[in-house]
Amino acid sequence: MPARIVPGGAFFERGQIMSHLHFPDGVLPLWLVGIGLIFTAMVIIAASRKLKHEGDLVRKTSTLAVMSALMIIAMSIPVGFIHYHINLTVLVGLLAGPWLAFLAVFVVNLFLSLIGHGGITVVGLNSMVMGSEVFMAALFFPVFRRLFRPGGAVFTTTLVVLLLSNLFMAFIVFLSTLSLDTMEVAAYVESGQQLIAGIPGWFIGSILALVLIGGTLEAAIITFILSYLRRVRPELVKNVYASRR
């Protein structure tokens, strides 16, 4: 086979700042990994049934594949000199609906895990974290739309959703440090306090700062994307802009 230029090689591979992290293999306890897999499998089954019930499966399969591919590519596009990478989950969630978007999130995580970006055994947990964003987006957007203009609602939804998904991720990390022995609620709270007390303030501070900066950047980009689409292909985003205040 003749030598070929690696697609995207020069432009797409840069630094690695993302709006949230992926769990790698071999770090989290097996019981938590198992819960992640079971929960994700349940959502996948529910989503597949729902989509099957709605009909037009061929179009949905095609949309799912293209949206997954777009998310994988978007994750590798650096935003100028800052080399920040976004994942488009909120956008896909708003435009394609949360169930289809969750399936796309799972496929993306599976693809990435095969090349070592996020673990393969924790694909369930990683999908839960990223997948939570699409459901939260569907939940919060109508609320913010009542309060703000479309651009503001998209920005606020993205920012809030990203902050909450990171909080969810932190909660999973907290769960992973607990033992499986039966404890009173108070013991769990104490355990959490001990955990937080054991982490240096600068560490928590830097993580929070990164999440805030990342979330704001991503929210801004998603808003720009939607405003661009509104100008050139309004029919694609009519659902977002048609919501009533």
């Binding site: 790698p24 095609s62 590519i73 440090t177």
Partner: protein, 233 residues
């Protein structure tokens, strides 16, 4: 992009590992990953890591690039083990070794086995609709990547892209990703038409799975031995 690079190496490679049956490589990887997760001895993990490090170097993945790929799991496991789990030195080392060895194992699989072959194997165990989506995603990824790469070049040639003005950067990224989204929608429409016209009813045919040869058998033997050693020791 990492995915495109890795897949290209897998398709173009001509080593004995590339020639081994895909299913034996996938099953071996499953045993190795399971072994890595259960492993509590650095004496097993370090040789495995070094073996894969050398093999990947031989396969065309430079040490710098390998270290770059390991950087994220290394940092995550280190921070997690030290700050959150409060692990002592030896256990922390094992935790970090597990995370980086798992990445190397998966890279070994994907650098020697094209995605399509891995999906064909998964097709035997996963619901066909899921493997269909994976095949179609793989296809859409390359179609879209080619187009977006041209778009990115066009934007750069016209002075867009990297500047120190954050707002302009974000607006450029928004425009670019908006264009990417439109491309994806158009591609989706045409893919949908192609699927319809070719009578798609679910279930893409994957490459047939052959029985294990000597090489595949050897890989299985080694990986099962590693798994057993990791569990027993």
């Amino acid at each position: 992009m990492k995915l495109a690079f890795v897949d290209q190496q897998a398709v173009q490679g001509r080593t004995f590992l590339h020639r081994a049956e895909p299913w034996s490589k996938v099953v071996s990887t499953v045993f190795l990953i399971a072994g890595i997760i259960f492993c509590t001895r650095w004496e097993l993990l370090i040789p495995l890591f070094l073996l894969f490090f050398t093999a990947l170097w031989f396969l065309g993945l430079s040490p710098a690039r390998q270290l770059y790929y390991c950087l994220y799991p290394f940092s995550f496991s280190l921070l997690y083990g030290y700050f959150l789990a409060g692990l002592p030195g030896a256990e922390l080392t094992i935790l970090v070794l597990r995370a980086v060895s798992a990445v190397m194992t998966l890279l070994m699989l994907m650098m020697t086995t094209p995605y399509t072959e891995v999906f064909s194997v998964l097709n035997r165990v996963l619901p066909s609709v899921l493997t269909d989506v994976m095949f179609l995603t793989y296809r859409a990824f390359f179609l879209l990547l080619g187009r977006l790469q041209e778009l990115m070049i066009a934007i750069r040639l016209r002075g867009g892209g990297s500047t120190v003005n954050l707002f302009r950067n974000l607006a450029s990224a928004g425009t670019y990703l908006g264009l990417a989204f439109m491309n994806a929608i158009d591609l989706n429409e045409r893919s949908y038409w192609a699927l319809l016209l070719r009578g798609y009813r679910g279930g893409l045919e994957g490459t047939a799975i052959s029985s294990a040869g000597k090489l595949g058998g050897a890989l299985l033997l080694v990986s099962i031995s590693f798994f057993l050693a990791a569990v027993i020791l």
